[in-house]
Amino acid sequence: MATYILKRLGLALITLWLLSVIVFVACQVLPGDPGRAILGPLAAQSAVQSLDHQLGVDRPLVTQYTSWVSGLLHGDMGTSTQFRAPVEPYIQAALVNSLKLAALAFVIVVPLGIVGGVIAALNYGRAADRVISVAGLSATTVPEFVSGIVVIIIFGVALKVLPVSASAGAGASAPSQFEHLILPAIPLVLVLFGYIARMARAGTIEALNSDYARTATLKGLKRTVVIRRHILRNSLLPTITVIATQTGYLIGGLVIVETLFNYQGIGNLIFKAAESKDFPMLAAGVLTIGIVYMLATLIADVLYTVLNPRLRLGGAE
C-alpha cells in the first residue's frame, strides 16, 4: 500500500509540472504588453520598453518559465501588475476567504447529498427516488448565478431574512461571517448536491442488488441492520472519490458566486486578473487552485485505498 501512495504522489507531481506549463503557456497567449497596459496608450515606447525590461517580459520564454517556477518554489509568486504589489498576500487572503465559503458549502452538501442519494436508492423507481434524482440533476446544471439570483431575490430582497452581501466587514465575529456566507453557499450546495447524491445513489443501488446483501437479508437480519452494517460501508466508498473531484466544480462555482456576491475570494481574484491581463496574479491564482484540486484528489485516493480492504491487504493467499 505504501508503494501505491508513493506512486500516486509521483504521478501527482508530474501532473503538477504539466499544469504549471499549461498555465504558463496559456497566460503567455494573453494579448497585450504588460508594460503598455500599466503605463497607458499615451506613454512613450521607450518608457514602455524599459518597464518591460524591468518586469522581465522581454526575456526568452523558457527563461521566464524557469525563473517563475524557481520563484514559486521559494515562495515568491511575482508582482501584480494591477496593484504593483507582491502577489502572495492577495492569494493568501483570497484563499482563506474562499476556503471559508467552500467549507461551509461542503459541510452542508456532503451529508445532504449522501442522505439524499441513499434515500433515493432505497426507494428505487418510486416517487421519492424520481424527485430526488431529477431535482438533484436539475440543480446541478442550473448555473450558479441563476440559483444565486433566485435565492437573493427570495431571501435577501423579498423576505429580508439574510444579508445580501457576502462580506461581513473587517474584523467581524464568526457568527456574523457565517450569516453572510449562507446565501452565497446555497448555489454551490445546489450544484454539488446532484453529483454527490447521484454517486451515493448508484453505489447504494449496486450494494442493494449485490449477492452479499441477499445473504444478509436471508440470514434474517432486520432491514435497518442490513443497510447500516452491510450496504453503507460498501456503497459510500466510491462516493469518497467523488467528493474530492467535486473540488473542481466547486472552484468553478466559486468564480461565479464570488463575482455575483462581490466576495474577495480566489475565484473573484482570478476573474479580475484575467480581465486586467495581470499575468503574475492570474498564473499564481490558477496554479493555486490546480494545486488545491490535486491535493484533494490525492487525499481522496489515499483514503479510498486505506478504507478498501481489497486494496489495503492485497489478493488471495
Binding site: L11, I14, T15, L18, L19, I22, V23, A26, C27, V29, L30, P31, R130, S133, V134, L137, S138, T141, V142, P143, E144, F145, V146, I149, V150, I152, I153, V157, V164, G248, Y249, I251, G252, V255, I256, T259, L260, I270, F271, A274, E275, K277, L282, V286, I289, G290, Y293, M294
Partner: protein, 292 residues
Amino acid sequence: MTDLVTEPAAEVAVAQAHGELPSWRLLLRRPTFIAGVAILVFWVVCAVFGHAIAPQDPLAQQLLATNKPPSGAHWFGTDQLGRDVFSRVIVGARTILVISFFATLLGTVVGTALGLMMGYLGGVVDIVTGRLVEAVLALPLLVVAFLFVVAIGPSPLTIIIVIGFVFAPLIARTVRAAVLVERQQDYLASARLLGEGSAHIMFVEVLPNVLPAVLVEFTVRLGYAIFTVASLSFLGFGVQPPTPDWGADFSANYGVLPAGYWWMTLFPALAIASLVIAINLVTDSIEQVLAS
C-alpha cells in the same frame, strides 16, 4: 463420401417475446420525457423562428419606456435601454442553443475518437494522454474556458471550439472506460484472428457497441454546455451586446436588482433554468428506459 444425416429444421427463437414494447414507445409513456421534450421543442422553435415570433424588435431601444415592469404591452417588462425583455428572451434562445449544441457535438466527436484510441491502443498513448487529461482537468472547466476566451477573443466560434475541446477529455474518459469493458469481449480477439487492423477494430467493431454510452454522454454534456455558455456570458466573456443573450442580459442588468428591478434578470434566469431542466428530464427518462 461421409454419410451425414440432417436434423429437422430449427425454429427461430426470437428474444423479443410477443407484446413487448420497443424502447421508444416506453419513452413516450413517461410524463417526464414528454414534458422535457415539449420545453426543448418550444425553445428550438424560438431559436429557429425567433425573429418571426417575437412581438417586438429585441434590439429596438425605447428610451422613453426604460425599466418598465411587466404589463400588457410588455409581458416581461423592459430593460435599462427600453428594450422588450420578452422579445429578447425569445430571440436569445438562438445563441445559447446553437453554441451549446455545436460545442457538445465537437467535444463528442473528438472525445470519442480520443477515448477509442486511449482505450483500445492503450500503452504509451494511454499513459501520456491520461496525464495530459488529468492536468487539464485539474483546472475547472469554467476557468480554462474563460482563460482561452480572454486570450483569443469572445466570438461564437471561439466559444464553441474552446468548450468543445475542454469537453473532449471528459467524454474521452467515459468512452475509454466503455472501451475497456469491450476489450474483455472475445469478438475483438476474433477480429484480430481475421487479420483486421486496429483502425477497423476501433471504428467498425468497438464503436457501435460504445455508441449508447456516447449518446448518453452527449445528452448530459449538452446540459453542462448550456451551463458553461450561460456562465461565460454572465462573466462577460460570451456573446457580445447588443445580440440578445440570456447570460449577457442577466449580467448587464443585475446591478440594478437591489433597486427593485427584478424582471430583467429573473426572466432570462428562468429561461436558462427551464432549458437545463428540460434536458435533464429527457436524459433521465432515457436512462430510466435503458435501465429497465
